[in-house]
Subunit: 356 residues, 4 copies
């Protein structure tokens, strides 16, 4: 219960620290009969892995995944699917000087306050590396969703104040910023490079769209679809805000312009606009589900920063290590994965009612 | 599991429809020994109830609460606390014409799609009335939090584009907008009155601040404190976005300005700024916890709107009923309650580790 | 989480103390479209209520149930079904002398040790009265099960050493012992009456059989069907043991005689014997599911007993009140209800897989 | 949720099939600061592993465990502890002829009915091999319990009708039957050897005693300590019944002899007898907790047995493989582990209340 498990019917439990033997995930409740090969998972991990482009950390981890259980003759069996990724390129020595001080913006102090002990090598359990396990699990969820006609697309909406105006899905994987607007992409990359040159970091906004969801996903009251999605998205390290459809802009709208007008489209109920982002009363309405996440700039910067050490003395720290000046492009597959896990879980919950 | 229960150690399960016999809540896991009287709960319900001011719905429900269990000799006993609020001022006839059509922006269609049957009187289970049960439960949580030195303060940050610039806690309950800025309050009220006169509605932003939280609340990975709070806040009907600390603004910041600088303050670790909103690595750091929620304008407006009916015909609907032109002021105690429930639950989870 | 909720998809949360305002239950996850009337529930409560026959407690509670939510136009809506039973015939004064001492065999001391405070009137939350809420919930589950072709039959297998040899379902409700063997019934009743005359109490064994369960109920590893049933049955106050199929007798069997031989019966797989009690590898196999529960004699006896009081002094207690000399006949509907709740939950979980 | 996770605060999630790459477990919620070495876990695995004595299966698996996460500098960190055991001595070819038929007494048919697909090699997920993961997790729980003064002792109470009369803890690990009575041990072993010679198998009874538990473990209503223990014990493959204290014998007792008489012993409340097996009203009372489990004879026997195949034809099967003629001695550490996991979880839940 203390936080490493997510989901109701499709549950994922992740484990592992950034500088331990490895990280991994156990998925229980995945339906039997999903065609699943290592490549299905590796493909998504490669989109998240460090060292994939000039604007990410130069750390080079292959992030090779092994399927330990739950798949037989190329099909999921309905039993837990365990996936393991060994850690490779770990230089714990980079962290020796951090053992007894608290890096600003990091979880060093709070983990220490919570547990009394902590694995201080590379943020330990709080490392972004843990999200590789989520991406692996998300890849399995996406195979299931695809078989049900649901697809998930994520991209960078904004970096360092530069905003993608156009969304052309074909552009996304063509540039290392994962920007869907070919005009904005080079400007975003320039912002990232400038931050790195300055020993600084920049934030941004990721947008995720789910298409093909049937009506009925999400449950009344506490497990509204936006609440489950919000939980999932806000559980990713650097996310500081999440919104659905018109989101924060809704606060400045009138009811007469916010309400989406329903109409019948070839016998299927649709709405003319989609301010609600595909969710009404906490339940999907069959329109595209639209989520945006605000990501803060990474905490690890190479500039000198003031902080305190374990003895309570004020000290100055310069963080060596090999870090991302902007986490947004690598976060795209992570937020896609979290969205996939929520939607797959909701589809399974909804199957209970479909079968009536 | 299908959505009416929230929490891990302190669980709340709500029940009830807007036009059935009543609504209520069962809280399990509340610690024994909390001093608890009906008035503690009634006081909070009175802040949420309809008809409390000129800018809310004229529906007049007393929302009297009865404690059915879990309290003996004025103290909680550790067993489930069940609270019941009978429905009183229900005019189901207001909804007769809505039986077979789907109101724009409401959950009518999605509930029908999900369950096949639905209670169409006043939104049934999807009614905002359900939040009275949450406020009642939140009042219990607040008694527990107060005994631990944690206080929760909510207020209106923005309505109809009018923003509170100053936050003076003493002002909040002095105006029906629950605005902490005495200069902004009349402007907000004017926005609400104009919307009502236009047969329209307006949205806004609520801010909730928790003071006095010890470090250590929240759990790694999926149950980060912001994820639990986001889940709780986004489970309230009209919320379309949630953010922590500097929130969406973080996306435009540099790491060097976002990172809060730690320092020692009379032997206690604090940070000079609080961009993180009191949470680092998913765990509270002892600073104020700051949450904002974006609320859309209410879906029920009296203007004619186009929609479809159960037969798939396009129709025009005018919603009679007695509705709130702006839900923000009445949502303040609801969002305070959700925050209180999350923090109380986290405190109890943390007690497991405190006792080591 | 602290114990008043049971189930995975179909969850029940009970509340209430024996001498508070009332007891009740909230069921979430019940499928929509179940035809449900107050009488469906009342009928089962009447089988459990005190004062129903000469061999039960003379306490006379009508146990009238009210449906507070989740039912509309005679059908369940898929939202939480809340049921309330007001307490009526409560004589708290019977317990005044028990306030500061610990009755042997009761939970007085352990509740005090756990919580520091306790409701000492009539065992409070630990009272068998709580099971009325379970019977009410079970009645709803049974309506759902019946629609799926599953029926549940419970009866007394043994009381005070007298064993029912024959099982004639038509006999069960004809005698107050709920004994399916008309020859054993009067002997059981005599055992109960002798115990009462002696100021003593007797135990016995209840057997529950579920017919019509499809194969596939129960889940691998920790949620094997027998584990879920065992949890449910052992959660009923006086139960001290539970067994499935040949149960404890299996420990003395050889594999060659224990293994049930499969054969095809009109195209359906069956086994020639049913030593496994309808469960293989933790999953139902389509044969009758057979459970037995051993119930200890009630703790409340009128003979003087030695014990200690809150001050640690050794005292003698004589328990007045109005108690059952044997709880077995009234426990039959309770154990049926628990079986129904487990099977309904498992059917819903299995619907996830049926829909693939 | 579908069955591979157990526990409330201390959760264990197992994964793996008998003939896949390996089996393992993720424990979340284990407290930080537990001293933990590979040897602590290996020691318990060695008590469960095949090939440990002449009366077990000759399969020879070393069952070497690897700690993948959650331990740093020899201490648990509070984050998930993942443990992996690679499968070694797997001869899948032994099972080729079983691919398309259903072994009597096994889960072959029910898994197929549930999931549509199954890993037919050596029972797949339903294999007793999965319990190695539980023993590994249990070893961690036992380290925590030991630090709190709780010890757990299991032994064979009965095999093939031969009963241990005396319980001498020093004798248990001296004989391969794990029998605490040196006179009964050789008779038990003879029963096992006779069954093997006959191509048959025998069942038996395991008893587990927990000493040093504080009062207060277990929660009211559905999570009574005996219900949690019953769930845990009945989730182990061959268990067909479970009882607490005097168990089924209670059904034949009078209240006047069943009720344990409380007295003060050096300022501590105790009872003169322990018929309740250490649990009153679902909550531990500080006396020894006593559990017994009835285990059926193993399903795999080498005698010819009639069954049906996937095509519905009646066939005769002779099970080759290398099987245990009696699982009881190897089940002792498994049932100890399950008991340890329940008690550790309850201790952590109780810490919530201790801290009040």
């Amino acid at each position: 219960m203390p936080g490493s498990t997510f989901g109701r019917i499709l549950t994922v439990t992740t484990f592992g620290e950034s500088h331990g033997p490895g990280i991994g995930v156990v998925m229980d409740g995945a339906p039997p009969g999903i065609a699943l090969a290592v490549e299905d998972i590796q493909k998504e991990l490669d989109r998240r892995r460090p060292g994939q482009s000039a604007i990410t950390t130069p750390r080079n981890e292959k992030d090779r995944v092994e399927i330990l259980s739950g798949v037989f003759d190329g099909l999921s069996t309905g039993t837990p699917i365990a996936l393991l990724i060994r850690n490779e390129d770990k230089r714990s020595s980079d962290y020796d000087n951090l053992k007894s001080l608290f890096r600003p913006g990091h979880a060093d102090w709070t983990y220490g306050a919570k547990y009394g002990v902590r694995d201080w090598r590379g943020s330990g359990r709080a490392s972004g590396r843990e999200t590789a396990a989520r991406v692996a699990a998300g890849a399995v969820a996406r195979k299931f969703l695809a078989a049900r006609g649901v697809s998930i697309l994520g991209y960078t909406r904004e970096i360092g104040g530069v905003r993608a105006v156009r969304v052309d899905p074909a552009e996304i994987e063509k540039n290392p910023a994962r920007c869907p607007d070919p005009e904005a992409a080079p400007l975003m990359i320039a912002q990232i490079e400038r931050a790195r040159a300055d020993g600084d970091s920049v934030g941004g906004i990721v947008e995720v769209v789910a298409q093909g969801c049937p009506p009925g996903l999400g449950d009344p009251v506490f497990d509204k679809l936006e609440a489950l999605l919000g939980h999932a998205i806000l559980s990713v390290g650097a996310v500081r805000g999440v919104e659905i459809g018109t989101g924060f802009e809704s606060a400045r709208m009138k009811g007469s312009s916010y309400n989406d007008e329903p109409f019948m489209d070839h016998g299927r109920m649709r709405t003319r606009t989609n301010n609600a982002g595909g969710i009404a009363g906490g339940i999907s309405n069959g329109m595209d589900i639209i989520i945006r996440a605000a990501m803060r700039p990474p905490a690890s910067i190479s500039r000198p920063q003031k902080t305190v050490d374990a003895a309570g003395a004020e000290v100055t720290v310069e963080i060596a290590g090999r870090h991302d000046p902007c986490i947004v492009p690598r976060a795209v597959p992570v937020l896609e994965a979290m969205t996939a896990l929520v939607l797959a879980d909701c589809l399974l919950v909804q199957d209970v009612y479909r079968s009536r």
